[in-house]
């Protein structure tokens, strides 16, 4: 079973994402901020990491860069409430970029594609 880490500062949003991915049949772990996420990555291997871009302290883009350095094989999906980051995606070492939506269909499809 593929392992996914959800990095999201807003608790309710994190809960929502985790539930959706768990329902989709993945093993899901979570971190409320970048620092926690990096700690978890030290001890455990994840197949995919979803990173919220807007976070206090180290933001999602930065975190993605760090993860890419350490875990070359892990897939990274960036999540955002905004749509304007899309253009800059290429410069960031993320595998996908998804604008948050209520149904998370796009997220689930992308995760499945990246892990499949």
């Amino acid at each position: 079973m593929a392992k996914i880490l959800v990095v999201e500062d807003e608790e309710n949003m994190r809960e929502l994402i985790m539930e959706e991915l768990t329902d989709a049949g993945y093993e899901v772990d979570d971190a409320p901020n970048a620092e926690e996420a990096l700690k978890k990555l030290e001890s455990c291997d994840y197949d995919l990491i979803t990173v919220d871009i807007e976070m206090p302290g180290m933001n999602g883009l930065e975190l993605a860069g760090k993860i890419r350095e350490k875990k070359k094989n892990a897939k990274i999906v960036l999540l955002t409430a905004y749509s304007h980051y899309k253009n800059d995606l290429a410069s960031w070492a993320a595998d996908a970029y998804i604008v948050k939506s209520m149904d998370f269909t796009e997220l689930k499809d992308t995760v499945e594609r990246l892990l499949g």
């Binding site: 500062d9 807003e10 309710n12 949003m13 809960e15 929502l16 539930e19 959706e20 807007e54 976070m55 206090p56 409430a81 905004y82 948050k100 939506s101 209520m102 149904d103 998370f104």
Partner: protein, 920 residues
Amino acid sequence: MDGYREFIRSIEEGPYELIKRFATHLIKLLNTEEVHIFMYERHRNILRLTGTTSEELEGEVGKLKILLDESSRFRDISEHEELVVSRFELLNVGEEAKMLLKPIVVDDELIGAIAFTVSDEEAHLPGEVKEAVEEIGAALKLISDLSVLKDLRRRLEILEMLSLVHSQIMEPSFLLDATLKLAMDALNAYVGSIWLVENDELVLNMVKGLNGEKVIKNRVPLGYGLVGWVALKKEPLLSVSTDKDERAALDIFDMEIKSAIAAPIDDGENILGVILLANRREEGGYRPYKHFDEFDLGLLDDIGRRLGVTLNRSELYKRLEQEVKNLKRLEEQHQHLIKKQQRQLERLRILQRVSQAMRSSYDVNNAYKILLLGTVSGRGLGFNRALLLLRDRDKHVLKPKYWIGPASDEKLSEEWQDAHARAMRYGDLRQYLREEAILLNLEVGLIESIKDKEIPYRGNPVLERVVLRRKLVHVTKSLVESRYEDYGFLAELLGTEEFVVCPLSGRFDTLGVLIVDNKYTAEPFHEDDLEILGLLSDSAGLTIEAIESYEELRAKTLSLERQKDLVEYLRRFAESILQNLDAAIIVIDREDRIKEWNKKAEVIFGRPREHMLEMKLEEVSPEFFELQEIAGKVYDVGETITLSDYYMKLGNKEMFLDIRFSPLRNPVLGIIEGVIISVEDVTKRHQLEEELKRQERLAILGEMSARVAHELRNPITVIGGFVRRAQKKIDDRKSIEKYLGILQEEIERLEGIVAEILEFSKEARALDFSVFDLGTLVEDVLELYAQRIKDKGIHVVFNQPSGPVEIEADKNRIKQVVINLIQNAIEACNVGGNIRVTVDREGESAVFKVWNDGTPIPKDIMDKIFLPFFTTKTYGTGLGLPICKKIIEDEHGGKIFVESSEDGTIFTVIIPKNPLRKGE
């Protein structure tokens, strides 16, 4: 008696013969043995035997005398009473025969006496005898009177002589000599002497009549002896016998003095001396007494006093003579001075002519020639030669310029005559100088050898004195000899040892040096020569300066003429600049009349220049009225007044103008004589600015919308997501309860956001002002956040004010600001960071500061942090600081700002004590 004439003659021949005849006549009448006739001498109160019939007594005639004083046996005679006496008693000779002594009285005056022998005491005198006695009396009186007359005549003669002598002789020693001779002569003195007063002594001045006798004393003190007494008492004195009168001590001559008279020489005031006569000489005619008598004394006294007066007069005369001499000398001197002055005056006139001639020349070189010619010409000042040296101020040297003098020493007089003849051909000296000077070649002669020499004047005492101190120096032979090192150089150059070096003095500076000498005539230079040369060189200097400045002026005039074109060009240039300026220029004078209206003004205001000039701005159109009013204020403030974005509508044209009203100052009068109005049409710029502002507002709005959208989107996504999940898990009660809780939370969050937006966008709200202590408020808020601070391990310092800092404000709104800033500080701090909160009073305002040592705020963010919806936080609306700003600045009239650096970030809030109550 054989007649009167015979009688007179006999008296003049000698009275004794006559009187003897009377006696003989009488003896017949009386028929007696002998008759003696005596004459009475009043001065001495004696009867003197003047005639006798006795042969025995013949030798006693004129000598025998009978004293009639008080003690005398014969004193009754004085009372005109006759006496019977013995012959012996009377005559000291013969027997005791009785004689009658009968006084002869004429007009009740004792004249003399007759003595004759009587037989008995009652001798009776016959009538004839009485008659004869009366006759004898009359005769004796005549004799006596005659001798008095004779004396008076002599006296008159002497005084006349004396007057003559005194009127002719003025020289004191001659005068004394002549007077003494005359006195001795008149008074028949053997010896005469004159003594003069010197201090307290009488000094023998002259003595006459000594015959081998010596002078024992030639000076005696005042008061000593006869002479001294007379001098002291100022009275004449007769001394008959030195034995009888101690005053008569006359131990001055080595001779016997039988009688002496002395009289003061007295000018009526002072005693000058004494005249002394001694020992009387015998003489012819009746002189009853052979020594000096009162009559002589009177005469000598007279002589003495006259001598005194004459001596005094002579002294005065001498002084007068001296005065006259002095006057004459003064007059001569005066004449000499007048002559000298006339000469000097003439030379001054010449000098003036030379000056005039120089001035009439506009050429400096020619003026110099005139100066030199005027100096040496016979019609000019007539010195022999002159050398002109000009000063080179930069090199500090003198350069020989011109020299004038005879070409050769041999043909000197010929040359001078020639020159004089030429000079005399001209009527006017000025004309001569002007015309001859032009013809002169003054670069020959002495000058040829030194033409190219440069003579440094610094260090040469003579030239330094002349050039630098502008003094005239007169060099003389003795000067050259004694100080050859200083003067020798010039002496050798000129070939003479006396010359005058004059500075050509301008008003401020020495232009050159003029050296003048008299080599050929060897005439020394006198004071007046130096004076004239001084004046000449001074006036020449000034004249040269005037000519030079004329030349300068001429040059300046030429260059000014050239400059005139340039000025015209510059004027056109300035005009063109003015007209082509991108700004409109309007100049108005103090009467508000338009003096300038350039092309750009025509364009901006759409009115042609020619219509505007001399008009008043207010007359142009009502829109200009305000401009004229503002222009009027420039006179008061004296400074430029600037209006930005001034709106003006002329017809359909709307304009925004930047206008500057500048004072037009008159630098000479120091007044503002008008106003320069420069107008720039900034309508386009204004429009651009407006557009920019609009766009900025739009951009902010866009950003705001995006942020609002984002803020809303997150909760909406979460709500939507859980609602969808709830639908799926409608039967899972546990999940549904969880989801409902989440939904509740998110909806509340949405409400908060909406409330904040509303809060910010609300225009005004009623404020609730109250007075409270800001310190206490801050303390309460810190208390509120104590747990969070503790959790994050932050160290907080609260700098309490010393007393309450009371402000009047809306407490809740201010609390909101304090909460916001402290909350921000806590969030900005790293774990274990520092916060410092300060409340204080600054003047009338309360100051609240919050500092933290968290990561500094970047500059680009700092500029935006008070803008709405700007936040670095992932949650929160970004309206916290904009709301703070609104509360502090808009609602309370205070100030809020942020400073950030490596040392930390500090927010400062300033609240005025009595804030402007907005919204009330």
